[in-house]
């Protein structure tokens, strides 16, 4: 096992481009247990090398090991163990969107992401994959497998609408959490079945784990050929089939980021010479806000939005609030006057990062919808 990690480190040090690393990974046998190739997408508009090295602090050392393919050695000392991971940061097909990757154990990867990427907002933003994009990519991956492999969903972290409401009117009004449950499910179902059930039970995924089983004469192998984990905030890890998973999963998911970035670009009045842009609309497929309970739940959620100040202009029957993102120095108005959608109206400064943070907060904590630019023609319907 150590041998494989050492070989990977050596490859990172000597590689002259990312294709060298990809070629190395593609010829490897399945990784030993608990060893995964991890990828984390992140958005950053600043100079990357400075952003990463800024985090160097006591107990943490970051040194560059290859400047041709920006690769680093991350050393971190915890009370009882030393973590040494080599990783690389490569640009994706989308501008300002990068992929941090490494072959390592999950606890090591967690330490790396926690220290270098998490809680770095607004300098670094972990963009959110919407359910629709994720299921589309998984379907494409499944379609590419043909008869060679079968994809089975093994584990899900989900949010689900609660069937039975609380009897007590007071407790029902009290919290949004009364209406949705967070669940973890272990299963072994084909993708289509899981997606059908999700639709039926109004579920949306936070994390998905699936396995690919090789088939021989219509009989599956008992051991999976690959295990893959995806989390909504741009993280993928797998232990085999590098080429298949990167070509069909990563390459399918990257354009969804591009669409979001394009949508959120150039929205603030200040950067548009004070000519306002159209609002961003989060659309739902049914009249979600017809129920007062949902509107109140949304209001409570907005009140909880971290690191922000709010001014509530109207709570009922329509919702109108101003939100200022204290970390990013952006602000926007949130307006609900239609049971199907939330409007986000950019103000003087409204950045890509701030819009992504708020939309992903709604999607993750409240309900996923479709995000797009508001179109006046919808109002005639």
């Amino acid at each position: 096992m150590d041998n494989m990690i050492d070989l990977y480190k050596a490859k990172l040090t000597s590689a002259s481009n990312y294709a060298d690393i990809a070629a190395f990974l593609s010829i490897q046998p399945p990784f030993p247990p608990y060893l995964y190739y991890h990828l984390q997408y992140f958005y950053c508009t600043k100079k990357l090398s400075s952003v990463l090295t800024e985090t160097s602090k006591e107990k943490l050392k970051l040194s560059m090991i290859n400047d041709k393919v920006p690769s680093y050695l991350f050393c971190y000392k915890e009370s009882h163990k030393n973590i040494n991971i080599s990783f690389t940061v490569t640009p994706s097909s989308v501008q300002n969107l990068y992929i941090m990757s490494s072959l390592c154990f999950s606890y090591e990867w967690k330490a790396l992401v926690d220290h270098l990427l998490k809680n770095r907002y607004p300098i670094i933003v972990l963009f959110y994959w919407k359910q629709r994009d994720l299921t589309k990519a998984l379907k494409i991956l499944e379609g590419s497998l043909k008869a060679n492999y079968k994809l089975l969903i093994k584990e899900l972290s989900i949010k689900e609408k609660r069937e039975k409401q609380a009897n007590n009117e007071e407790s029902r009004k009290k919290s949004f959490l009364d209406k949705y449950d967070s669940l973890r499910e272990w299963t072994s179902k084909p993708l289509s079945q899981v997606l059908d059930e999700a639709l039926e039970r109004e579920q949306w995924f936070k994390k998905i784990k699936f396995q690919l089983y090789k088939y021989s004469n219509n009989v599956p192998y008992s051991e999976p050929a690959a295990t893959c984990n995806i989390s909504k905030f741009g993280s993928i890890s797998f232990n085999n089939l590098h080429d298949l998973l990167t070509s069909y999963l990563c390459k399918e998911l990257e354009p969804s980021y591009e669409a979001s970035i394009r949508l959120y670009t150039n929205r603030g009045l200040g950067e548009r010479n004070y000519k306002p842009s159209k609002p961003i609309a989060v659309e739902y497929d049914h009249d979600l806000f017809n129920k007062d309970q949902n509107l109140q739940a949304f209001r409570k959620l907005v009140e909880r939005f971290p690191y922000s100040s709010k001014a509530l202009y109207h709570a009922n029957p329509y919702f109108h609030a101003s939100i200022a993102d204290f970390k990013d120095n952006s602000s926007y108005d949130v307006f609900i006057a239609n049971p199907k959608r939330i409007l986000i109206i950019p103000q003087i400064r409204t950045s890509i990062e701030a819009l992504e943070r708020f939309v992903s907060f709604i999607f993750f904590e409240f309900r996923e919808g479709t995000v797009k630019e508001m179109d006046e023609t919808w109002l005639t319907t």
Partner: protein, 340 residues
């Protein structure tokens, strides 16, 4: 003036309702009309020597729309009226004052052939106000000209939130508008938010909490920078100049923001009204100074002691105002109704 939390919240809500009602009415009148009519949120106009209330005086109706070179609308909103009807005479006189050959239209000689004075009244007061005005007329105290028409408005929810306009009395002289209004006309609130989502003011001074909430959340935040953080007070020290701040508010949320085309911005500046006014901004900054959220450096310069406020901003500043009023009951509160 609103004096407790509920009243202040309601008053701030009413202010935005009036902004929305004006925008919806302008949309109702102007949509799908070519050439696009001129309109303005507030406009300096002049009464004639024959005016029944004030002769040859400057007036600023809430909105003015010029449909063609021959027909124009002078709009006055009454989103809220004093509870005591004895104070309504002033409102009635204001309407009669606008029923005049006003000067200040977008025509060569600044006069227009035909006009309507449109009184937009929130529905809960509309019938009562209507009766009051008719009674004044019956008593011979006033004469309502045929140019004056009343239109009630109400927020309704039919699938979407709308503002519904319905004729009360009189008739508009524009046939297209008359036919639109004949059976009542709903305008989706979203529709104006798409086009005018950033408009947060009109030519009336709002409660100080509304103005401060906009300044705090939308303007000061853009000036927050690690370089102006004071570790001792744990506040960001943001220098503001009153005129520059007023200008920023005007071009983002007020009088300049509502003008959209180059023609709009170049039109007769002397007739355009400014809002939020410099005096409103100064009063808001003085209030922040009183409650310890700003320091006055000179007549036009302040330092705002900016920090994250987790509580709802309107409630936060309203409770500060109430507390301050209790502390200094003898002092006159900064006036929120400027005549300028």
């Amino acid at each position: 003036m609103a004096n407790n939390l509920d009243e202040i919240n309601k008053s701030c809500g009413n202010y935005l309702d009036t902004v929305h009602a004006l925008l919806c009415f302008i949309s109702l009148v102007c949509w799908e009309r070519t050439p696009e009519p001129y309109f303005s949120f507030g406009r300096r106009m002049h009464t004639s020597p024959q005016n029944r209330i004030k002769k040859e005086e400057e007036v600023t109706p809430d909105a003015v729309i010029q449909l063609t070179n021959n027909i124009g609308l002078i709009i006055e909103t009454k989103a809220s009226l004093p509870e005591n009807a004895s104070f309504w005479r002033k409102e009635a006189d204001q309407i009669i004052k606008y029923d005049d050959n006003l000067k200040g239209w977008w025509t060569t000689d600044e006069y227009i052939t035909d006009y309507n004075v449109v009184v937009l009244i929130e529905i809960t007061k509309s019938l009562e106000f209507n009766s009051y005005v008719l009674e004044l007329q019956a008593n011979g105290e006033i004469t309502l000209g045929d140019a004056i028409c009343g239109i009630s408005f109400v927020r309704t929810q039919r699938l979407t939130e709308q503002i519904y306009f319905q004729p009360l009395w009189g008739r508009t002289k524009d046939s297209a508008l008359s036919s639109k209004l004949k059976n009542g006309m709903p305008i989706p609130l979203e529709k104006v938010k798409v086009s005018y989502g950033n408009i947060k003011f009109y030519d009336h001074e709002p409660d100080v909490e509304h103005l401060i909430a906009v300044m705090w959340n939308d303007v000061f935040i853009t000036k927050k920078d690690p370089s102006n953080f004071d570790p001792e007070t744990k506040r960001y020290l943001i220098s503001v100049e009153v005129n520059a701040l007023a200008h920023e508010l005007q071009r983002s949320f007020g009088c300049i923001a509502i003008r959209r085309t180059p023609a709009d911005t170049q039109r007769e500046q002397h007739r355009e009204v400014e809002f939020p006014k410099i005096s409103w901004v100064r009063r808001a900054l003085d209030f922040l100074t009183t409650i310890g959220y700003a320091e006055r450096r000179s007549e036009n310069e302040y330092t705002v002691l900016y920090r994250l406020i987790r509580k709802d901003l309107i409630e936060h500043f309203a409770s500060k105002r109430i507390k301050e009023k209790k502390r200094k009951p003898e002092e006159k509160e900064p006036t929120l109704f400027d005549e300028s």
